[in-house]
Symmetry: C3
Subunit: 214 residues, 3 copies
């Protein structure tokens, strides 16, 4: 999907996408380790976190082959990452803090939103559907991770803007698309918006409204 992106930017995108996928996978490793899953369970949860969002989007859009089927090398990268993370955490008795994860995760949120929304627009979806599918791409990996770990998905319950940043980024992509921006500009604007909003939300400690009972 990066065909029309200039060469240098295309490589930037690949780097960010790698960082994002690995960040999501690492969030799965950490959550799995916290829940005392065994080594196999940790790999599966990491895989769900990394590839789950895009897979749900593609199943809903009936798009094949799935990303991890077409680029099967990524499954090896994921396995290597999981093994390395487990060995490292065992050796160092180190638990990567949630805070350290937040910045690559915010990058991942932005890029997955932009890519997911664009794929849906290219498939001819109406704007709101494309935005929802961009959000699904960015958020449902973590949702599947949390469901398998028997938790209420953090994206829906921690009262910090997460999916809503993806929502805003998706609309930027829709706007850029309707203005016929070049693909790399649209991707950059959408990913940047979602990512910046997420970072601002973390930094300034924004809270989402909740419904308080009685």
């Amino acid at each position: 999907m990066a065909n029309s992106v200039p060469w240098a930017l295309s490589h930037t995108q690949v780097v960010i996408e790698v960082v994002a996928t690995l960040a999501f996978a690492l969030s799965g490793v950490i959550e799995g380790a916290r829940k005392r899953l065994d080594a196999v369970g940790i790999c599966v949860v990491a895989g769900l976190a990394a590839f789950g969002g895009g897979t749900v989007r593609d199943v809903l859009l009936d798009r094949r082959p799935l990303f991890w089927m077409q680029h099967a090398g990524w499954i090896w990268v994921l396995l290597a990452l999981c093994v390395a993370a487990m060995v490292f955490m065992r050796a160092r008795h180190l638990e990567p803090t949630e805070r350290a994860m937040q910045w690559p995760d915010a990058l991942g949120l932005g890029l997955f939103t932009a890519v997911g929304t664009q794929i849906a627009l290219d498939a001819g979806m109406p704007a709101i559907v494309a935005v929802v599918l961009g959000m699904v791409t960015a958020v449902f990996g973590g949702v599947l991770r949390d469901i398998v770990c028997n938790e209420i998905p953090r994206a829906f319950s921690d009262h910090r803007p997460y999916a809503v940043c993806a929502f805003a980024g998706g609309w930027v992509m829709v706007l850029a698309h309707s203005l016929a921006w070049p693909q790399w500009g649209a991707l950059l604007a959408a990913a940047g918006t979602a990512c910046m909003l997420r970072m601002a939300a973390l930094w300034l400690n924004w809270r989402l409204p909740a419904w308080q009972a009685g």
Copy 2:
């Protein structure tokens, strides 16, 4: 799918379908609020409850576009409903009782069963598969809602006939189909059966058998 239904009935069907979808969405809002989800989580759970059953059915049948992709306006209606419900519940400190939900939910159960079974029959599925898919349409929205909220799905655990009413309604649709009834008659008979059974079960306090240990 309402092409062959007479105009007046078709409009009745739309009205009931709206009521049903909104009732299912509202059940998601209530469950999400109970579980202290944030505003975004509540909207997602409401969306899963309203569109989840039909989406699972269409993915299993490989039917596209999905309902909410084709009729994207419904996503806006859903968002408006969620915002309105949250504002209203905040303002009134009011928790809609589960009892008040039961009647529109029963209507929704009936109609989603009838429509889901018919779609599966039209896709050439054998009778038992069509009935199962009608049940999936009616029940899996609530199942996804409860899974995301980290609960055992109520449809499987509260020992009240729910899915089984959909099962019975589905067979009425199969029968009507094999007797070549007009579509509107078949829809009415199937939806009516499922809905009446559910109402009778609630009214007369029917209980499903369970397996008691020891």
Copy 3:
């Protein structure tokens, strides 16, 4: 998919497949009964355990019709099994032990792995993807069963080799495929490997490594 298997073996395979599907279904009945689901919930959980893995694989591969749609008779067999199991357990106040389930479950693991991997290879998937899909076929029925029952999937958390046996069996299938073995030989070798490994793991009490915090 058994066309090229010699007649006698093909019947052996059908017998094993029946045993495997019923063993998985029975595991769902037992888990559902433990969780105090009602009769309908038990049937649904049994169906997810029996057909869930193959259904997820086929949705990911975009393969239709699904097994239980094409061979609808199996839904009746499943319903009959559930009713029989519930009646039997009520009458005898008997809880089938987890140990008694382990041997047919190991058989099922082996055969589902072999069949799932082969289907993915026939669909032109790369080796690692085929192995992952074989694992999904064998393991995700139980995963869906545990998610609906609001448990962390046992396959990922009980620290006994389960998915990893399927992983090994899948590679045997890939190897046999690349050596152009006849289909029945490949199926037998792969299913045998996964099944034997699982039995050895149970017998010799092998444990998977876990990440121990601090």
